[in-house]
């Protein structure tokens, strides 16, 4: 079975917001709404750290980390369990998706989602340009929408837009059930966390912290499994085989002490 998941390497993430913007374009997300947000874990505003600046010969403790956040595609998805009409459902390939023709707009799923990943079309959605962007299903006023892991792309053998367009190669998409996939390897070999794991939702999205991974190492926009030639073990980040990839950039700029 296929079980799609996403690994986000927070040590690689540079906070450029490209994934958030490309998601909005690819999925024709209405103005005033975001499916994918790059949060700053640190100060009160984006791109600001917490802690104090090093002054008077003292060492400061400024700290900041970027946390790209979208639907976590949970295994035990509360939003799926609360949907009264089966409009939100978990696909066999692990993607949590919404049937926009079924959604009655009760917003119980928004109450259920601990990540605030879902948005509701409070009025007729506005798009710029008006004809919209991307090749996706239209969502009317009065329904809930959210990240689909770009299921329209995945079905064509392409990685989600956010993964392909990440300039830091910090987003790796793949099959968690395939032990040889890069996502599986990173989840096994690196220190990964699931957001709010104490809630028991068991997300299919994993965040790498501490040691930096080699990232998404192939340049095609295809799914790893669709590539004619699989990434080599080094490229796929097999930590036993090679440490050299990490080299100069292995130490995170901040965070790890």
């Amino acid at each position: 079975m296929t079980n799609y998941g996403l690994v986000i390497d927070q040590e690689r993430c540079i906070g450029c917001q490209t994934c958030a913007v490309t998601c909005k374009q690819e999925n024709n997300v209405p103005m005033g709404q975001f499916w994918n947000r790059v949060l700053t874990v640190g100060g009160d505003h984006i791109d600001t750290p917490e802690g104090s600046y090093p002054e008077d010969g003292e060492s400061g403790d400024l700290d900041m980390q970027y946390q790209p956040t979208a639907c976590q595609h949970c295994e035990n998805a509360p939003c799926v369990k609360v949907c009264p009409v089966n409009a939100t459902y978990k696909r066999d390939d692990g993607i949590v998706e919404i049937d926009y023709d079924k959604c009655i707009g009760c917003r119980y799923c928004m109450a259920a989602c601990p990540y605030n990943a879902r948005v509701f079309n409070w009025d007729e959605p506005q798009h710029l340009p008006e004809e919209g962007t991307g090749d996706v299903e239209e969502r009317p006023q009065g329904v809930v929408e959210k990240c689909t892991f770009c299921s329209h792309r995945v079905e064509e053998g392409l990685d989600p837009a956010c993964a392909v367009n990440c300039p830091a190669d910090a987003r790796i998409f793949g099959d968690l059930d395939d032990e040889t996939s890069t996502v599986s390897k990173y989840v096994n070999e690196y220190n990964t966390e699931q957001l709010l794991d104490e809630k028991g939702t068991d997300p299919n999205t994993y965040y790498v912290q501490g040691e930096m991974t080699p990232g998404r190492t192939w340049t095609s926009d295809k799914l790893e499994s669709e590539l004619d030639e699989q990434p080599t073990p080094e490229e796929a980040g097999d930590p036993d085989s090679e440490k050299s990839m990490q080299g100069a950039t292995a130490d995170p700029v901040w965070g790890d002490d």
Partner: protein, 442 residues
Amino acid sequence: MSGEVTERSATSTARSPVLSSFGVVSKVWLGLLGVLLVAGLGAWAYQLQQGLVVTGMRNVFSWGLYIMLFVMFVGLSAGGLIISSAPKFFHSDRYEGFARLGVLVSLACIIVAGLLILPDIGRPERLYQFFTSPDFRSPMVWDFGIVVLYGVLNVWYLWLLTRRDLAARGSRLAFGAEDTQAGRDRDRKLLFWTAAVALPTAVMLHSVTGWIFATQVGRGDWFSPLVAPVFIAKALVSGLGLLLVVSILADRYTGFDADRDELASLGKMLGIFLAFHVVYLLAAERLPHAWADHFGFWAITSEFLIGDSVYFWLWTGVGGALPLVLLATPQLRKRLSVIFVAGVLAVFGTLFEGVRLVFTGYESVNIDAAPGISLGGEYAGVTTDIWATTGAYTPTVIELVVTAGIVAFGALIVTVGLRFVPLQRRTEQERYAPDGGGGGCD
């Protein structure tokens, strides 16, 4: 007690509606309700066209007044049914005079609760999906089922209580039932069995409504096993409070005759329910958190005793402690005015309990890193601030008007019921045959 009843002929004990006609005052009242109803429909039509953007709800705070009042009216619907069915289940004639009015009020409240969901729904034309594509894991499906069942049960119960009297008056609402002694005796047995079904149904209704919230891991204090019992207690408090208020009003303005001793006794019961709900259950909910979160004795004590929001104090102070004191003071608690005020305050308190419950779920978010969550709605160009890291909510005029219209519809049901359903009418010292309980069973 039961012996003297069976000696009478069936028809001489037949009751009448407590309003024999709609007078000027009633017509003004009905007119007011009609205006509110039409205004509410208009506001809902406007909301359907513009979208829920005309409400105060947004992506962080995504449930508002409609759900707060849904919770309240589900609770309010408990009073009448429990006051009428609990004695019948135990073959008692107590509170007999309140049974019919109580069920009428319960029916109106559950209809209001059900209707309050409609304007909260983004695409109400798709509600048929509840039948064609239900997910039985969803507490909302459970609640939909139990609200409908409870409504149907109330209709059946009210009709069963009154059908012989309706027949005696030649009303078409008897639907072929005849006023015979045998029929009345049979109805007493049916009423016992209906009560036996109604009580667990009521318990389920309030528990399931609580579980809509209590099952959610993502919304702070909602995720608590205490929510369902608290909803039961809340229903007892607010339902009985409303029944007392409506009874005293009906006693004042219609032919309805509320027994003073029983009112005082029900008032005492309201005090006990309040003590259980606002003192005991709240303490049981707060103490473990206060103890675990703090170290010093006074820190624990103050965290335990001192509430966090104005809604908390409106609920526990104005709607809890105050009516409790009124009902516990021997010189006061038998006065009609005091019972009335205590009932109003108890209902007022549970309104803010529901408001507080929704606020505790939405005002803070689990992941509050900057810039936060996109709010959606009202996008007015690139300068729009679409982000929020906390939830804020104020109902809009549209929400208030829609809500007032639905509540007016409930009041309309009760008013029309007072006119056409034989609830009871004051006559010269005459006793009525009880509808169930002791009469047929000993």
